[in-house]
Assembly symmetry: C2
Homo-oligomer: 237 residues x 2
Amino acid sequence: MAAADDRLTVGVLGGMGPAATFDFCRRLVAATAAESDADHLHVIVDSDPSIPDRTAALEGRGPDPTPALRAAAQRLVTAGSELICVPCNTAGAFLAAVRQEVPVPLLDLVEEAAAGVHARAPAGPIGILATDGTVAAGLYHRALAAVGRGVLVPEGPVQRQVMEVIYAVKAGSAGDRLRRTGAEAAAGLCGRGARAVVLACTELSALFHDGPPPHSVDASQMLAERVVALAGGRLRT
Amino acid sequence: MAAADDRLTVGVLGGMGPAATFDFCRRLVAATAAESDADHLHVIVDSDPSIPDRTAALEGRGPDPTPALRAAAQRLVTAGSELICVPCNTAGAFLAAVRQEVPVPLLDLVEEAAAGVHARAPAGPIGILATDGTVAAGLYHRALAAVGRGVLVPEGPVQRQVMEVIYAVKAGSAGDRLRRTGAEAAAGLCGRGARAVVLACTELSALFHDGPPPHSVDASQMLAERVVALAGGRLRT
């Protein structure tokens, strides 16, 4: 259902994970300039945490999430969504097949984040903190290569720590210890020459809800600002 | 659509206001004991900020929100919700008419909060920090009278400050100055004999996201815990 005005109703295909989904929704609201409730966008969220794990699927350890993603997208369209976003970086590996069957624009978080960090960072490689699935699928490698940027990812032991942080957030943890591990991983990438680091997993965005570590940008935040603009909301400046 | 298991799909009738809606959703997620995404509930949110202002309607200054509430509830049922909650205290004044036309349980936030604070507070009156609309409609007065409790509300000038805080949160503000005003209003009610104070407006819940002031309980938090339990999720202890 369209809003009474000409702004688009936003669909949020969520649940991957739920804390990250509602952290993204909070960013959507905070990114909107508003004097009262009515200045905000109409947002419909389908947070379906039964969507199969994206990293497990990419590593051949679990079922393909595409059918569940497609079903959720179709539910959002039926409910009135006119623009769909998916606050999960790893899900990007499966969206091409979903996009073909959905009659409304389906934003690519990775593409938006790659464009956003390219516009912000000095020339040189970009560091990525993401799931093993996002890294293995080369999502940021491809999106950043398209704008002439190289990618740096943490070395094995640090990448394993990043994955532990991400799954701890999914299990409901937060706190300074996890943030310190994330910040050290970001600093390590900067030390190896990254000109900026993307928090490229929405669990990391939820963990750093008050702002990313130094020299880092937040993919979820960039998506939220892009969605407000594309849907016709007024961006808070 | 029901989850694959026997847990209920939760519908959140939101937008009143949007920040409060997603603060409530964050509480739902945090109240659920989870080891991974799949332990969380399937949640569908319709955040429609065009629902007419509830206080304005109760004061005869604005249109009746009932038709918009009914339409949103019906969209949530169509989308698969099996249990609906409305994270807005003032909307409670309009829910009887909505409930009649919705084929799934529609939880009453005020009733849940009144039961919750009654179970927690020593005998005596309960203080209420709420919108002018919630106060004028006597929502908490009725619900607490039913369990033999009196109600205290701030005196005129303080109630006006509480309303200013609530509308500031709707306009995107937060911060220590607003929290101080809210905490002082709560302390004033305790000074007048309240045995506990209910943060009975979801904007106040969003403002005090890290926890309510001393001797206060949060209506939004009590609703979140009740929803997790009723939907068959595991409560985090």
